[in-house]
Symmetry: C2
Subunit: 195 residues, 2 copies
């Protein structure tokens, strides 16, 4: 997605070999027109998948997910993060480890918002190790729903998440794919089909 | 806002005299078309205020805020919640007490995203005691920005937040105003001007 790649080039800040800071347009300050285009692009890519619900996780997934939901005309649900829960009635719970924060969280979704037979599109802002996406997929599957795909705004392709999700049989569709952040420079994965 | 009032009537769940659960359309599952209408209505109410930025707080404020930002064509920023911070460089920090969770959080916004002279519209999903709205307003003012108003999706008018914010000189504009949740029933504040 060219618009997004341009934003990454002009506003992304490389912090070491692993971290790309995009808080000016994606996960602190947000550009609503870019968000709308992101939603439109995910909707275009998944329009033939019979999506019935969008699933994401607080907080940075919410804006791209609501825009995608709007384009597809389906409800959006965001999973909540908790340190750890005692009461687990009527909710699906999965454990998710954050490599960035070096801590485990439990993520939860109310049982009443996922149905057997739902076709779920998972949306998130970043894909690195894939922990959040796997957790969301397991929640969908606990509900008897199927995961139609995983839509990612920025994939760090040099980290293992995308590969692991694909090996597990999931369709991963990322709007930009970053091959490397070495030497303070963003290198993109070459796209064969254009985009 | 009739559409929203109807949703509250049909899907809102009253839990005791203080708590209205609206997780089927506002703060867990979200209805994107309702969110779009919410954004449009806030934009309409604040269109003459010269708004330059929308400010909200994670997580449930993000969807109504991004929709409002889209309608007004301005950036949106969401404040982050933290337990407590040691490093406070380059961020505005305010303490916010949550009566629901009975804990204090620090909320933060990067200094680079608020400028002197900005006209800020604060958006949030609920207004009860006003702690979050006051925290966001103090952050805007730390930056030398002015608060053009506070747009709230659901105001619990029987709690003190709206009154306290108005006494402090802020314009509070709530899409629905709830007078009482007593006896398991939602009673709305009578609107004089229609809506």
């Amino acid at each position: 997605m060219k618009l997004l790649r341009d934003k990454v080039m002009t506003e992304g800040i490389v912090l070491g070999d692993q971290v790309l800071k995009v808080d000016s347009f994606l996960n602190h300050q947000m550009d609503p027109l870019l968000m709308k285009e992101i939603g439109r692009e995910f909707a275009r890519r998944f329009q033939d998948e019979g999506i019935t619900r969008i699933l994401t996780i607080e907080s940075s997934g919410i804006a791209p997910a609501i825009m995608t939901a709007m384009e597809l005309g389906v409800p959006m649900i965001f999973a909540r993060k908790h340190k750890s829960l005692t009461l687990k009635d009527n909710i699906y719970v999965e454990k998710v480890y954050s490599f960035t924060k070096r801590e485990s969280n439990e993520i939860t979704v109310s049982k009443k918002f996922l149905q057997e037979g739902d076709r779920i599109l998972i949306i998130d802002d970043f894909l690195a190790n894939g922990e959040a996406a796997f957790g969301l997929a397991r929640i969908a599957e606990q509900a008897g729903a199927s995961v139609a795909g995983i839509g990612i705004v920025i994939e760090k392709s040099f980290q293992p998440g995308a590969g692991l999700l694909q090996e597990a049989g999931y369709r991963v569709d990322s709007l930009v794919r970053i091959a490397s952040l070495e030497n303070g420079t963003v290198s993109f994965v070459e796209e064969v089909h254009g985009q």
